[in-house]
């Protein structure tokens, strides 16, 4: 590792013992990045930014919040009314959950479109799926903390999922609750875990970045960097591009925080939790709706000799919908990464996007009539995409010819190069 240039004696002294300066120089200044990253590549750093925002605002909220069933709701309202700038901290945090998921979902779909999960980035991708799972757990438990009606009944629905496990299910649910109903011990442990999990996410994000920096970013062409002409240093090119993107993102985020802070939430969560009154409809936050739709769409599944009850089948499918992402690098058999050169996969990618939106729409409605049909179709299609279409496409699709290098493809006056040669990615 080269020591940074223009260093003072002190910097050199420190760096010799603790190489943080050369580390930063290596990972930021020298870190070679493909020169052709589009704005879709902004969402990774945006997700990291949102993680920091959530932890920062969360720490301040925790100073004022009371994790007790009798006081939780009122302590949140006290933050809104009597704590200086408390309303701002809470609305940043509350809408932050939604925006964290927005940028993360875009980040994931970008990976799907450009094949960012393919060799040698399989572990990078799988660590990302772990982050998604941790995020979901954190968001779910955070939503319980204000102890509104949707907090309580959402927690009821989700914890009851574990009762679908044969034989020991009910015992597991009692163990999760810390009692025979959702009550104060449940709220206490959710608060404790809600504070813990974000720091686990930070840990996995560090691993995610280590894996990323091993081979560097994928890029819109999906081909490897072949030499220095294909790369530019991360700083200043992508630091400034990420900061500009962050400015645009912050404008949208701020519009929600200041002018429609409750637009993404359910009004029922401003009703204090009442274990004796089930709300007419129990709906999770929008970012869980597609998974909720899958959960509620699955009927009893008849195998030859026995039946998987609908509830267990629904739970299995819901977790399976994330599970398939874990093995995605091996389900997609195509050697070509980017959809730009995969004329057929490109269409199926957009169908998957539509499928996710349809499932989200279904998840917001009672499972009745047409919604049941739509939900079942959407669920089946989701798994067909990953388990059948992707393995087959890799074999059947004829990819377009890949450019010979990134610089050849993106520079206005490319170095003379033969085109039309197909190269394995």
């Amino acid at each position: 590792m080269d020591a940074p240039r223009n260093q003072s004696k002190l910097v050199r002294w420190i760096d010799h013992r603790l190489p943080i300066f050369s580390f930063m120089a290596h990972e930021l200044n020298e870190y070679p990045t493909p020169r052709n990253l589009s704005y879709w590549w902004n969402f990774g750093s945006l997700a990291g930014f949102m993680l920091v925002v959530m932890i920062a605002t969360g720490i301040f909220l925790a100073m004022q919040y009371t994790p007790h069933v009798d006081f939780a709701f009122d302590s949140v309202e006290r933050i809104m009314r009597d704590v200086n700038w408390g309303w701002l901290m809470r609305y940043i945090h509350m809408n932050g959950a939604s925006f964290f998921f927005i940028v993360t979902y875009i980040h994931i779909f970008r990976g799907l479109y450009y094949g960012s999960y393919k060799a040698p980035r399989e572990l990078l991708w799988m660590l990302g799926v772990v982050i998604l799972l941790l995020m979901m757990a954190t968001a779910f438990m955070g939503y319980v903390l204000p102890w509104g009606q949707m907090s309580f009944w959402g927690a009821t629905v989700i914890t009851n999922l574990f009762s679908a496990i044969p034989i020991v299910g009910n015992d597991i649910v009692t163990w999760l609750w810390g009692g025979f109903a959702i009550s104060n011990p449940t709220l206490n442990r959710f608060y404790s875990l809600h504070y813990l999990l974000p720091f686990l996410i930070v840990g996995v994000v560090v691993l995610h970045l280590v894996a990323l920096h091993q081979h560097g970013s994928n890029n819109p062409l999906g081909i490897d960097r072949k030499g220095p002409q294909d790369s530019i240093p991360f700083h200043p090119y992508y630091t400034i591009k990420d900061m500009f993107g962050m400015g645009v993102f912050l404008i949208v985020y701020a519009a929600f925080i200041f002018f429609m802070p409750n637009a993404l939430g359910d009004p029922a969560n401003y009703i204090p939790a009442n274990p004796l009154q089930t709300p007419p409809e129990i709906v999770p936050e929008w970012y869980f709706l597609p998974f909720y739709a899958i959960l509620r769409s699955v009927p009893d599944i008849w195998l030859l000799v026995f039946t998987i009850p609908a509830k267990l089948a629904g739970v299995l499918c819901m977790f399976g919908s994330i599970g398939v992402l874990f093995v995605l690098p091996w389900l997609d058999t195509s050697p070509v990464r980017s959809s730009r050169f995969r004329p057929v996969y490109k269409w199926f990618f957009w169908l998957l996007v539509i499928d996710a939106l349809v499932l989200g729409y279904v998840g917001a409605h009672r499972p009745e009539g047409f919604y049941v049909l739509m939900g079942r179709f959407g669920t089946v299609y989701y798994f067909v995409h990953f388990l059948i279409l992707l393995p087959l496409l890799g074999k059947l699709e004829r990819p377009r010819p890949l450019p010979i290098s990134i610089s050849a493809a993106v520079l206005k006056s490319p170095p003379a190069a033969p085109s039309g040669k197909m190269e394995p990615a």
């Binding site: 020169r35 809104m80 009692t174 089930t278």
Partner: protein, 258 residues
Amino acid sequence: MRAFALAAGLGVVLLAGPAAAPAQEAGAFPKQAWPFEGVFGAFDRASAQRGFQVYNEVCSNCHSLRLVAYGDLGPGGPGGGLGFSVDEVKAIAAAKQMPDTNDQGEATTRPALPADHFVPPFANEKAARAANNGGVPPDLSVIVKAREGGPDYIYGLLAGYKDPPADMKMGEGMNYNEVFPGHQIAMPPPLNDNSVTYADGTQATISQEAYDVVNFLAWAAEPTLEDRHRTGIKVILFLLAMTGILYAGKRRIWAAVH
């Protein structure tokens, strides 16, 4: 456990009758123009103060407002209060009797102070149920945020009492309301023409009273709303400028690469 939750849920649904039955659509209620909505939205304090009078003289007989303190109405309140002076706030509070204990530890009452939260109409939930045909009138502190449709729904509900259609069978003690989900509501029509006498001479029609009390309840639900709007405008303007500068920087830095 599930059986218990189900039974409890079912029991509540049966007890509460048609009012709580799920899947009943709320009636249509028109969108109103509220002064606190929009980017520059601010409370109409004259209307909200009249609305406080409506709450104080009518609604507060059954509905608590437990998250709001009397002092919140005055200049020291969150978001600068509702425009009442310190002396007015003291007088408003002093007119209420607050349960307390004396130095001998005996239960007693005293005039409320600005630091006290609004005195609830009933001592406890059982008293509320006993006085209201078995139901508990909901607390109104955040009611505007706790209902789909917000202020439009509350306004529509308060002004939505009608005679039931001839073919509709009403439950005992139930009232027909165009806007309430299922159209049968336990709350009797709370507002009449001239339910209150406004000091500023405003004609106290049902719709005027409903409009005023919704303005008051919207303030009660989020007294810091004006701070939020004002801060938001500054933040967005700053972000627009900052993003513009960052864009210029991005163009300049990338000029050599393209």
